[in-house]
Symmetry: C2
């Protein structure tokens, strides 16, 4: 039974948190895209830290998703866009995803307990799955600049998850208390927090504003992506909620 929720405000903090399960959130956009791809029936997703690793690891038939500086690198099939992902037929397919922050954060945490990816897109599915299976849970904000710096949008999504996870008797660490308080008290709530984040403004300048709106949409996915294999610099996700 869920006993405690902590939030790592940057992935480096996660190394100091003992938990049964870790939920990595990169709201804009890696873990939102991941939730959308599994909602579309994707079977397996290999996440890596760089486009070069993605090109090297890709096997025949696998789709290649990713971004550098927000945009799809040369030779990739698709960007790191939940809007683009929602329009694709990925049922039964496998894919590789390389991003600057979210996939780096997943790789950093992989191997420490059960590792899930979270977003507003799969908030309820994730909450139900995690609350039923784990005692202490840590939510890991992926951040920016190679997963080294804090970002507001990940704290907003973490706060939304803390609020649905927290119930009587569930202890909250300082980061979790902060996340929950922010989404309750911030004028305009989660959406305003996300839109005020530096990274949201960068995406807006790149013409990717629709991805921000898509990332704010709750429960468009019932997927619970979970790391099933990992090594140095890579991890493989499958949907724990798939039949």
């Amino acid at each position: 039974m869920l006993s405690r929720v902590d939030v790592a405000l940057v992935p480096a903090e996660a190394g100091a948190i003992e938990a049964d399960a870790y939920v990595v959130i990169d709201l804009l956009r890696a873990t939102t895209t991941t939730a959308v791809l599994f909602a579309g029936g994707l079977r397996r997703l290999t996440v890596v830290r760089t486009p070069g690793e993605a090109l090297a690891l890709r096997r025949p038939g696998q789709l290649l998703f990713g971004e550098v500086g927000g945009l799809a690198p040369p030779g990739f099939d698709h960007g790191n866009s939940p809007v683009e992902a929602a329009g694709l037929d990925v049922a039964g397919r496998e894919a590789v995803l390389a991003t600057t922050n979210g996939t780096a954060a997943i790789c950093e945490v992989a191997g420490r307990g059960t590792v899930y990816t979270g977003s507003l897109a799969n908030l309820t599915a994730l909450q139900e799955h995690v609350a039923a299976r784990h005692g202490p849970v840590a939510i890991v904000c992926a951040g920016t600049e190679g997963a080294t710096r804090f970002t507001l949008e990940d704290l907003a999504a973490a706060g939304a998850l803390v609020r649905v996870l927290a119930a009587n008797g569930v202890a909250l660490g300082d980061g979790a208390a902060l996340a929950a308080a922010c989404v309750e008290q911030w004028p305009g709530g989660v959406e305003a927090m996300v839109r005020s984040a530096g990274h949201a403004q960068t995406l807006g300048r790149l013409g990717l504003g629709e991805d921000i709106s898509a990332s704010l949409r709750r429960d468009s996915s019932t997927a619970v992506p979970v790391v099933v294999e990992w090594g140095e610099g890579w991890a493989v996700l499958e949907d724990a909620a798939a039949g």
Copy 2:
């Protein structure tokens, strides 16, 4: 002229922030005690990470301050208590301070630009000194558990400092925007944030509640402690505002 304020929510984040100056905050209690000691006329303070290092580095005539688990270790002259420090005659003296988080964070940041220590006790003096001398400034929350985990009380003090530093044209990173928003929006403001922190509750259980109240008092010190020498695991502070 001050151009930008960032906040590192844990010391590990500071490594990714380029700034002219870094202000380390361990509100409960190392950097508050430091501000109080310099207000009393302390001439030099050597900060280290462990009691063993303090005992090894201490030279004749130097006072020994510090804590492990909140209390003064055996063989130390004094704890890490701003209340205790305020009652001592330290004018012209030198001292060594070993704490679990604040001094570890100072040692981690030392050597990256000019490094100050901040607290509510020296908020105005620090703001005036820093704003007049530096372009991009990073505030570093020392945190807890060996300076690896985020704490609310350091964010509260960071937010108070961001608010007095921020003016028209000063850019705020996401962490700085968060800190400022929290102290503006948290019901009960800085004091309520500090008192709700897990570490404040630990100090309360140790009977050190008066240190929390002392740490909330603003501008009892005009000291601007600055790192003037450093090496692996140690740093020496003097008061940049001393005549």
